[in-house]
Symmetry: C2
Subunit: 197 residues, 2 copies
DNA sequence: TTTTTGTTTAACAAAAATGTTAAAATAAAA
DNA sequence: TTTTATTTTAACATTTTTGTTAAACAAAAA
């Protein structure tokens, strides 16, 4: 629709992402988004027609981003261990920037409906799970259902960042100290899931 | 306030908990809560005065519940390994019933403010972390900052349940098959965090 | 039974959030 | 420089959600 395109459309979308994914304001209002973007609320309707459509756009881009990250990490030609290392790097970085992305997707699915998920491509994941199985067969990984391995990996990666506000309180840590904990996790997760092998 | 007490107050609170914590409707409206509870929306105001106060009551009970579970699991007289086993059981059960409890608390903190957390007692956690340190010193656990050990434990426990809607899709699993995966995790988590020791 | 107390409800009111319209502002094209 | 197309905005309208009031109802006490 826009031809002149001064970047406002992208600005609104990015601001919505920041509020929702980074700051965890899962039900930011159109006014809050417009204010944070420094535009009039009507602009938001001009570009997206309704709040729902803006949210849908944001959701869909998050889903696509996730899909691309999975693809990038899971179907590369790297040897398995390097592949996992790369995956941890990519997802840890993403989670540090947008810790509430996954939370948003899940709660959105819970309120709007499962049909939202439809477009995710599960092929890369399937091929990765196969590779995990092979590694287990060769004795390079402790045997377990490959889906468990994958859930373990993502649990260790994502959960501490999602729950950061709670853990900062529980451990009495300021932002800086907590971030150090998080960045130290890459090596630790590798150790843990490869069981010292 | 209520003297006759027909159980409506508790019913409303429990229904709110079900919608928010179990079904993941993190911003259920008063109408949705009243409908689900089968009462008139005005009753909700009669007992709680406002939506905010109902939500505050729900939040506070969740916080207290968490506090109690932590206490129950972390300061018992059990030997360390049994203690962890017990903790996994308790929290896995709770997460299966109310997967979005923690998510709710975090997003609430992100929108309302950190002062909400205030009342959590971090003493049981501190004493547990000390015990973890001792186990590491004795060589029963791989050495790492104890807070990392604790985050690992809770990550492995909680994350798959929080993200269930996504993983069911990704693995193409129905509810039954997914639940089997989850219940199989207790033993697996023990193995993983004790590193076969 | 009638009085009192507590509970539930319908009807109404207010506030908050979303959506629409038309006009003003801006910038490129003719 | 006028014209045209696009973008931005203010003002208004609608819908949704929350909150209030007063009356109906129910049950125990007087």
């Amino acid at each position: 629709m826009p031809l002149k395109n001064t970047g406002t459309e992208q600005l609104i979308k990015d601001t919505a992402k920041r509020l929702i994914f980074a700051e965890g304001k899962l039900h930011a209002t159109t006014q809050e988004i417009a204010d944070a973007a420094g535009v009039n609320r009507t602009s938001l309707h001009y570009y997206f027609r309704s709040r729902d459509l803006l949210i849908a756009a944001v959701f869909q881009e998050a889903m696509q981003g996730l899909s691309e990250r999975l693809n990038q990490c899971m179907v590369s030609a790297k040897p398995f261990k390097q592949k996992v290392e790369f995956l941890i790097e990519v997802f840890l970085k993403d989670m540090m920037a947008f810790p509430y992305q996954e939370t948003f997707m899940v709660t959105e699915i819970n309120t709007v409906g499962k049909q939202l998920v439809g477009n995710i491509d599960s092929e890369p994941v399937k091929s990765f799970l196969n590779e995990v199985q092979q590694e287990m067969d060769s004795g390079n990984l402790k045997a377990m259902p490959p889906s468990q391995f994958l859930m373990n990996l993502f649990s260790l990666l994502s959960y501490p960042l999602i729950m950061a506000p709670l853990y900062k309180q529980l451990f009495q840590l300021a932002d800086g100290a907590f971030n150090e904990l998080i960045t130290a996790r890459k090596a630790m997760i590798m150790e843990l899931i490869f069981n010292g092998k």
